[in-house]
Structure formats: structure tokens, C-alpha cells
Assembly symmetry: C2
Homo-oligomer: 273 residues x 2
């Protein structure tokens, strides 16, 4: 490469876009593009700022570009995007939202939601499984639903679910019971008693919020503690878990897991064939 | 930058696209992106493959993206793209085509054609001017028209114009007479007699074609010879010109000149303010 040309985009580069409003805060362009590169793929993910009134016209136009391999959807489009998939994954149907839309080899567009699968992948990379475990999940909003449905599909023994909005918790519990008929699913205040894995998917502890999503001074050291929050990486919850000797899984690990799942989903598996 | 993220695209990166069909052969993504980078701008140009039947729906959709700063148009869209500009430059109106469409500070879309200006810029960087010169231009197609109109605007004394299709040559001559009323514009076979600058904008000599666009065994050493062809960089015409001791300007120099003009046009001048 001469200094006259860059080596990261050319006429042959396969395009991927992340669609959202606002767009400047998204992290997929630098993270997904790095994962494409790490796997030796000539592909790039770019930010596409789409306003709500334009969404229904812009998405079909983007899908019409033959060199566009897929789209990622973020706030506020995860639900609206479902209408543009020819086919939804089982999890996307249960959650009622997608965050990836990919073009199949046969030209059909498949939608899936990978947030929760990213969490499961983050656990897997630590050698941790949900099978047979007793899980307490705090938060039944967008992130909580995605995490909850993905975790339910991994065969936990019991799930305890909490949200400040009890109706939301009950609605998610119903979906989890469908996904995991073998599990005992209950709604109630968060606890670590009789729990193996404590998961926070609520916004409590985000950014400058020093609060804990559960009242506690210490945790049993055998407890595994997860926090979906990415900023800060060390929330008050995770700080207490570490102090208590617990193993932790961070929001950043979930994000990395999801990046890997996205690149897999877009048809670029780890070992190019 | 960690290896987990790339430094060339993020949620804040300003997007530009080149629209064409086919798309894999285009060079703007790596060249324009490199020029953005050289000027310290957080911007990228990506390839957008648009099929002819989708063009009229896709271009407005792309214009609706607030983080898209502009588009470049290549084959076969330079004429059709005019319909999507709120405002056309004088040269674009004369040529009847645009290759850049940029969003103004006030949100209006300006169209311009920079191919010919790139040629003039290539000459300028060599310290060469068209003012008062006698020019012979071979080729009155798309490239020839753009080069001819841009050269005419630089105040040449005389222009001799040739195309295998005489009607094309006459049509371009009429446009050049409007742009350069001071110049003597004539149509006829190419010659170097009484000529200061010989320009080829025909496809003769491209790729594996070893032919010369003008019959000659040698040129006067004072002649300046230009060839718009990029591949090969040294055409038979330029090889003979060098052998004859002439100064030459290459298609690659025109391309570089155009890249600089494009980045200027998109609102990123050489010295950021």
C-alpha cells in the first residue's frame, strides 16, 4: 500500500452497516470491522444514521445494494426491523426484535437477535455453562429480555426474575417458561440465596450511577456474577463480587461474544474455508 | 487502538459513497479515503453497488442519511445523477453530467463534474497552464467532454478537436465555443503542427491496445503530451512523447488531481481551519 491508498476499503470490499438514531455512540463499526480483519475478510461495517421517518424507505434501499452483506440494528429500530426479514430465528420471534439482518446465499434475508447469545458466548469463553444452574436475572427490558431468552435456551434448572416493572417481569417469565419448560421460573425480588449465577441486565450502575441492583454487603464466593453494563466496566456490583471472591463476567465480555456471533452470522466463520 | 478495534471507522466517521454498476473496479474508496486521512479528516468513502432499476429509489434514500456527506457517481450514472442535485455547477450544466454530489452547509445538494478539473489540476501541479496555448484534443466522449470543457475554461488560444464520431466532435466543439468564446475551435484530424499541448481522451491505447491515437514517429520536443488513460500508465503515445523529449502528464496525475478536487468539493480543504 502506498500512502496514496488505504488498505481497508476498495471497490471489492463487502459492506455492512449499523442503522440507528442517534449513531455517533455506536461501537460496532470499529469492533466488527476489526473482527472481519482478524479473520482475513475484506469487509467493513459503517455507521448509517437513519431518522425514524425515513426508516421504512431506507432499509429496502440498503437491501437493494448487491454489495451490502447485512445490517445491524440498534436503538430505536430493533422491533421495527423485524418487518424487513424474510425469516426470523426462534429467539427473534420470542423476543419480538432483531439486531442483525443478513443476506443468505439464496438471497433471502434472515433476522436474528444476538445480544443474549453474546452473553452466553462470553460465559462459554470463561468455561462457564448455564446448564442445570440456578439463575437470578435483574432487568426485563430490552437487554434483559434478550439475555433471559438466550439463557433459558441453555437449560438452566431455575430462573428467578426481577424488574421494577412487575408486568414486564411477568411477561418475560411467560416467554422464558415457553423457551425452558424444564426450568422453574419465578418472579420476585432479587436474591443470591439458592442461586448459582447472578445477572444484572438493568441500567442500575450505569455510567455515574454508583448504586447496586441488589442490596448486599458480600456474596457467597461460589456465586458467579455478571453485569451487562459496558460503561463502567467495573460496576459497583462487579466490584463487590470480586471483593467477595466470586468469578465475574463483564459487559465487555458479552460485547466481545456478540461481535464474534455477528461476524459468524454474516457468514464469516472463524476458520475461512 | 487495541487490536480489538480499528482506527479507520467509528460511529462518528462521516460517510461518502461511490455509486456505480459494476462497482468492484472503482478506485475512489482507497484513494479518496487516503486523501481524507492525509488531511486529518474522520471520513471514509465506500463502494455502493446500485443496479439501474434501483437507482431512482436508492439515491434519495442515501441522501436521507444525515451522516452521509456526499456521493461520487461513475458508469453508468453520471447523466442520471443530475436529477438529484438541487444545484448544478456551470461545467456540469454544459457537460450534462455530474460525478460528485455534495451536501452543503445549508442542506442543499450541489452537483459538479470534476474529471476535467482533475486534468487541469494535474497540469497545474506540473507548473503547466492552458492559458494562451494551442490545444489538440482527441476524443469527444464522456472523458473528452469533461476534459474539453474544463480546458476551454482555462483560456486557451486555439482548440482542435477530433473524434472518430464527427457528430460528437461537432457537438463538443459547439459547447467549447460557448465556454471559450475567445478561442478558435476547429474540428478535424489530430495534428501536432501549430499545437502546444496534445491531449488524448479517447480509449485508443487502453489496457492491451498498443495503438497510437495519432499517427506519428516523433513529436517536436517543445510539445506537451497528455493521456487520460490510467492503465497502462505509459501508453504508446506517452512512450513516444518521452522518447521525443516532450514533457508529459499522465492519466494517473489527472486522477490524483481529481481526488484532491473531490475532497475539496466535499468541504475538506487542504488546511483544516
Amino acid at each position: 500500500m502506498s500512502t496514496e491508498e488505504v488498505d481497508y476499503v476498495s471497490g471489492r470490499t463487502r459492506m455492512f452497516g449499523i442503522v440507528g438514531d442517534p449513531i455517533t455512540q455506536v461501537r460496532s463499526p470499529e469492533l466488527v470491522s476489526a473482527e472481519f480483519r482478524r479473520r482475513g475478510r475484506d469487509a467493513i461495517m459503517v455507521p448509517l444514521h437513519v431518522l425514524p421517518g425515513d426508516f421504512d424507505a431506507v432499509v429496502p434501499a440498503l437491501k437493494a445494494l448487491p454489495n451490502l452483506g447485512g445490517l445491524v440494528f440498534t436503538i430505536p429500530y430493533k422491533v421495527r426491523a423485524c418487518a424487513f426479514a424474510d425469516e426470523l430465528s426462534a429467539q427473534a420471534r420470542v423476543v419480538g426484535a432483531i439486531n442483525v439482518l443478513g443476506r443468505d446465499a439464496d438471497g433471502r434475508w434472515r433476522g436474528d437477535i444476538l445480544d443474549g447469545l453474546g452473553c452466553v458466548e462470553g460465559f462459554r469463553r470463561r468455561g462457564l455453562s448455564f446448564a442445570g444452574q440456578r439463575v437470578c436475572l435483574i432487568g426485563a427490558g430490552g437487554a434483559g429480555s434478550a439475555v433471559g431468552i438466550a439463557v433459558a435456551a441453555e437449560g438452566p434448572r431455575a430462573i428467578r426474575l426481577y424488574d421494577v416493572d412487575t408486568a414486564k417481569a411477568e411477561a418475560l417469565a411467560a416467554k422464558m417458561r415457553t423457551t425452558a419448560p424444564q426450568a422453574a421460573v419465578a418472579v420476585g425480588p432479587p436474591t443470591v440465596e439458592g442461586i448459582d449465577i447472578l445477572m444484572n441486565a438493568s441500567p442500575v450502575g450505569m455510567l455515574d450511577d454508583p448504586r447496586m441492583p441488589i442490596a448486599a454487603d458480600a456474596f457467597p464466593p461460589a456465586l458467579i456474577v455478571f453485569d451487562a453494563i459496558v460503561k463502567p466496566e467495573r460496576t459497583s456490583l462487579l466490584a463487590l463480587a470480586e471483593k467477595s471472591g466470586c468469578r465475574i463476567v463483564t459487559g465487555r465480555e458479552m460485547m466481545r461474544g456478540q461481535i464474534a456471533k455477528m461476524v459468524d452470522f454474516f457468514g464469516y466463520p472463524e476458520s475461512p474455508s
